[in-house]
Every structure is written in C-alpha cells, then in structure tokens.
Amino acid sequence: MSLELFLLLGTGLVAIGLYGAMSQQSIVMLMMGLELMLGGIIVAAAAFWYYVAPSAVDGQVLIVVVITAMAVEMAVGFAVVTALFRSRDVDMTDMAADLKE
C-alpha cells in the first residue's frame, strides 16, 4: 500500500460520482453521485493524514468536515426535492431547468 494507491482509489470514486452527478436526470440520483465524490475525498484525506502528516490532526478534522458535509447535503437535498415536488410535481433536473433563466 502507498499514498498513490489510496489517492487512485479516491480519484476513481470521485470520477464515478462525477459521472453520476452529470448524467443522471433524477435529483436523488444526482445526490448519490455527489455522495460518492465525497467518499473519494474521505479516502484521500485519510491517506494524506497517514502517509504525509500523521502527527498533525488536520487530516482527521478534514474527514469530520466532509462527513458533516455529506449529512448536510443529503438533508438539504431531500428538503429541496420535497419542496420542488410539492410546488411543481418535479423530481427531475431537466424539468427544473428554469432556475438558470
């Protein structure tokens, strides 16, 4: 095992999550892609902590921040989907595209 292998694993998860976030029409599936990307960041942060600066706690703190971001992303994401669905019967990104206008 080495830092490069862990970073490669994190990169793989980020790339798959990016594919999902960009290609999925359902907002819930898009959120799953974002969560996968955050999972990749967790692996990378843990590897940096272990292989670069294990005596400092910054890598661990970064993981705590990312875990919080995952929880916030899911909670706010579902609340937005619920509000959108209630007001417009919309649960797909293509049908909610008028925000860009």
């Binding site: 790339a15 999902g20 290609s23 799953m32 692996v43 875990i67 579902f78 293509d94």
Partner: protein, 196 residues
Amino acid sequence: MVTTVLFWVFGVAAVVFGFLVFRLDSMAQVTFALLASFLCVAAEVLLLGLGYLGLVIVLMMVMEMVIMAVFMIMYMMNPAGLMPMAMYHNKAGAMSISVGTFVVLGAGIFLVDWPERAGGPPAEPTVALGTALMGPQMLTMMTLGLVLFATIVATVMLSTQRGRYDRFGDDLRARRPEDPVPGGVGPQRTEMRGPR
C-alpha cells in the same frame, strides 16, 4: 500482507459498487450498492488506523442510506426494478468528462513529488482528534455546529407545507394567522377551503 489484500479487496469493491449505483434498475438495490461502497470506504479508513472515524462512517451511512431508500422509493418511478430504466442525459459527454478527470488526476498522483512522511501517528488518534476539536480546532467544531443548526432550520422551512405567507397572507399584514387549527400546523389553506 493481509492489510494489502484487504486494501485491494475493499478498494475494488468500493469502485465496483459505486459504478453499480448508476447501472442497476431497482432503487432499493441502488441504495444498498451505495451503502456497500461507503462501507468499503469505511474499511479503507479503518485500515489506515482511524478506528473512530471509520466507525462513524459505518454508522452514519447505514442510517443515511436507509433514509435514502425511503426517499428513493417515494420519488422514483421504478422502485422495484421490474423494468429496465434509464434516466440519463448527455451520457457520452458525462462519461468522457469523468474518464478525463480520472486520467488527469491519476497522472497528477504519479507525477507529483509527494512530501516525506513527517512524524508518526499518535498512539490514540481518536484522543488527538477530540483534543484538537475541543482546543485548536474549536472554531471548526463551532462552525460545523452552526452549519448543522442552520441545516435543521432550512430543511424544516423547505419541507413544511404551510409557510408564513400561507398563514398571514401575501403581504404578511394579517393580524391573526389563518390556521385551520391553532399553532400553524395542519393541511394547506387550499385544501381547507369549503364549509367551515
């Protein structure tokens, strides 16, 4: 040796389950594929000696994915996966950008001259994390607390059926809220119109 085998097993499994998230048809299967991917990520974190954070990821993701399964079944048109389903847009473009990102980041990983390891891990990484969060990293912890509180307020505001404009009118000038039952709860005003 055992650690290396476990790294490869969990690493490959994390990527495969992550890819299955966007290939399976059943929403329940999709959610549990994502959960399996996260459990493999947690196993990798445990392999690096971060016992507490690995366990937190396991516990949090189990709860989060169970909740997500409920939402998936609520909002998706094909919850049981009884028919093939494809809800993509710009699939080829997304795939090429994703592969390009992987190649660029992967090249960077092997081209960058990473710094040498400075020091060793503490005997108790969890104690070190807790001490830092309650000491030098207190501002981080306070910010996270505020973010979580704001999230609670925002999610309740977004998901509630009756907002302030439903209760006090469009210009918010009503002296008394128009509530079907006192306290602002109950069904929407439009549903309550009728003989009262």
